[in-house]
Symmetry: C2
Subunit: 156 residues, 2 copies
DNA sequence: GTGTCTGCAAAGTCTTTGCACCATA
DNA sequence: TATGGTGCAAAGACTTTGCAGACAC
């Protein structure tokens, strides 16, 4: 349709349409939730937040949209080993950079933000090298330490 | 039973009994499988290998034993985000040290062994600091990079 | 002999799929 | 209006739980 005015909003709609997808109410709501948090949320978390604004959106749609966003590279899906996946935008107001200590016994998860400087140095080099060697577009990463926490290592 | 001869084998039986558990045929078989591999296996993988030697052992027992071993700190449970957990002995013939590049689109997993030296340096410091600060007994860790692989980042 | 372990079957949890209806472009 | 998107219900995949019988110590 030549001569059509370009009124593409600077928001997410353009990204969707640019990939051949449509912007819809559920998708907008999900993007709003993801943009407005600094935590990694589970599908259920996102569903409940979306549900407050748009009660008609179903959990299935949340899953489908998250899968779509993951395919598009806009979202990264994490798995912390507790049986439910977490999702986070690759761009935008990222969560505070942190990683996890996971207790194998009591399943407690300790978030820590230490050693970020050392980590950054290592990661910068690793990411640069890996993305070149494997021609891989790295969006995010996860570092987890597994072991026994304070309380559990002294049981027995 | 005083005066009993101490014939405790140097194997896994002692570890189990030392924690108040019993050594059984299924548990021995599972330890054999874990000791004899250099890969991280899923519960189903372990079950199938155990099944060849001891066909009577059930999948439930594999899950229960892995949970027990995890509690004892002898095994670490990983989650790569593909819906099934993997298990690895914390001691013994560890798998070759490697990490993963995970494609968010096609779910392909690339194992890499590069940058291990830089990584080691960072990890040594992080582990030492974290275990001191949080009094956490670190047994293992996982590093994963998420993004789009060669093929997927050029689609669309 | 006693308390732990085990296998089987059933239940649970998170996630995906099928299908008819609805809405965006 | 022609696809693509959605909700609901059902199915799927992996893991956990209940229970009676079996076994290690």
């Amino acid at each position: 349709m030549p001569g059509r005015r370009r009124m593409m909003s600077p928001g997410w709609g353009g990204k969707f349409r640019g990939c051949g997808y449509r912007m819809t109410v559920p998708r907008q709501a999900i993007m709003d939730v993801l943009s407005g948090t600094d935590k990694h949320l589970s599908a259920e978390d996102i569903y409940m937040k979306v549900h407050k604004m748009s009660p008609d959106v179903g959990l299935t749609t949340v899953y489908r949209t998250l899968e779509l966003l993951t395919q598009m590279g806009l979202v990264v899906k994490f798995d912390f080993g507790d049986g439910r996946a977490r999702y986070e935008l690759t761009e935008g107001p990222k969560s505070e950079h942190h990683h996890h200590l996971i207790c194998a016994s009591c399943k407690r998860i300790i978030e820590y933000t230490d050693f970020i400087d050392e980590e950054m140095e290592f990661l910068k080099r690793a990411e640069k090298g890996l993305s070149k060697k494997y021609n891989f577009d790295i969006k995010n990463h996860i570092i987890q330490f597994y072991g026994l926490c304070d309380k559990c290592k002294n049981k027995k």
